[in-house]
């Protein structure tokens, strides 16, 4: 069970819509009840996951991005995205929409592990895929979105 508790906010939808370059006026409405969210907006629930590993933590000193050195990682952690040749990438993302998200909703997320499999690739060596399924529910317990994410850890960087 993840600890995500996401209040759906108008200004967050506006910032998200700007970032994907979408000028649809429905994402910028003044009245809360007129605002709708872009189809991939729920991805920003990461903002409300206290343990999200791709956000530097306040006061944390083990962020793996660069500072003086190319990585700030003091120990070679094993988490995906943790640097070195084994690098986590996003392979697939699927959404099933059950009910619309509304401003004022408070969304909780339940993550369930899915399948995992391996594949050989010419461009990136051995690929380890793993799937997770997240059910997003509103404050009334109604299922809003089911999201299936597939991550891949590559043996070496993808050749381009």
């Amino acid at each position: 069970m993840s600890k995500i508790k996401m209040p759906v906010e108008k200004s967050h939808i506006m910032m998200f819509a700007r970032s994907i370059g979408d000028a649809n006026p429905k994402y910028y409405e003044e009245k809360d009840e007129n605002v709708i969210a872009p189809p991939t907006f729920i991805q920003s629930s990461a903002q409300f996951d206290p343990d999200y590993f791709l956000r530097p933590k306040i006061g944390g000193d083990n962020w793996f991005g660069s500072g003086k050195e190319a990585t700030g990682m003091k120990s070679s952690g094993s988490g995906s995205g943790g640097g070195g040749a084994a690098m986590g990438l996003h392979a697939e993302q699927h959404y099933e929409y059950h009910k619309p998200l509304k401003v004022g909703d408070v969304i909780t997320a339940e993550v369930k592990p899915g399948k995992s499999w391996e594949k050989e690739s010419k461009r990136a060596g051995k690929l380890k895929f793993s799937e997770s399924v997240t059910e997003y529910r509103n404050q009334d317990g109604e299922l809003i979105i089911t999201a299936t994410s597939v991550g891949v850890v590559t043996e070496k960087p993808v050749e381009n």
Binding site: R18, S19, I20, I36, Q43, A46
Partner: protein, 138 residues
Amino acid sequence: MLKKNEIKVGDTYSEKLVEDLKRTQIVQYAGASGDYNPLHSDDKFTKEIAGYPGVFAHGMLSMGMTGKMLTNFVGDGTLKKYGVRFTNQVWPGDSLESTATIIDIKEEDGETLAEIAIETKNQDGATVITGSATAKVG
């Protein structure tokens, strides 16, 4: 919303998603989505640690931009499913164009649904996203 009597299998819709993608837009997406993976904003880390030629866009930024084309085509609030595979990385400077193709129109539980195939390509014709969607039809 798409109208049943105005669409047929094989219909397509295309849209330019971005022209000369800027690093700043990638940073903007990181801030809005909360995904601060250094691969998308930290050139030093991405070159020296990850071994890529430089920062690249979040797959979810490409999916989000492709979603703009999709909702412009099928209408707001009509999507029942939307899914993609990320087949190539998207780099700063890339220009993307995305196409939706209606591959089936069907009745299900009293609703008319359009099944849509999606492909987003870069300026060199390389496919960066393949996907599919299901949308309600009026």
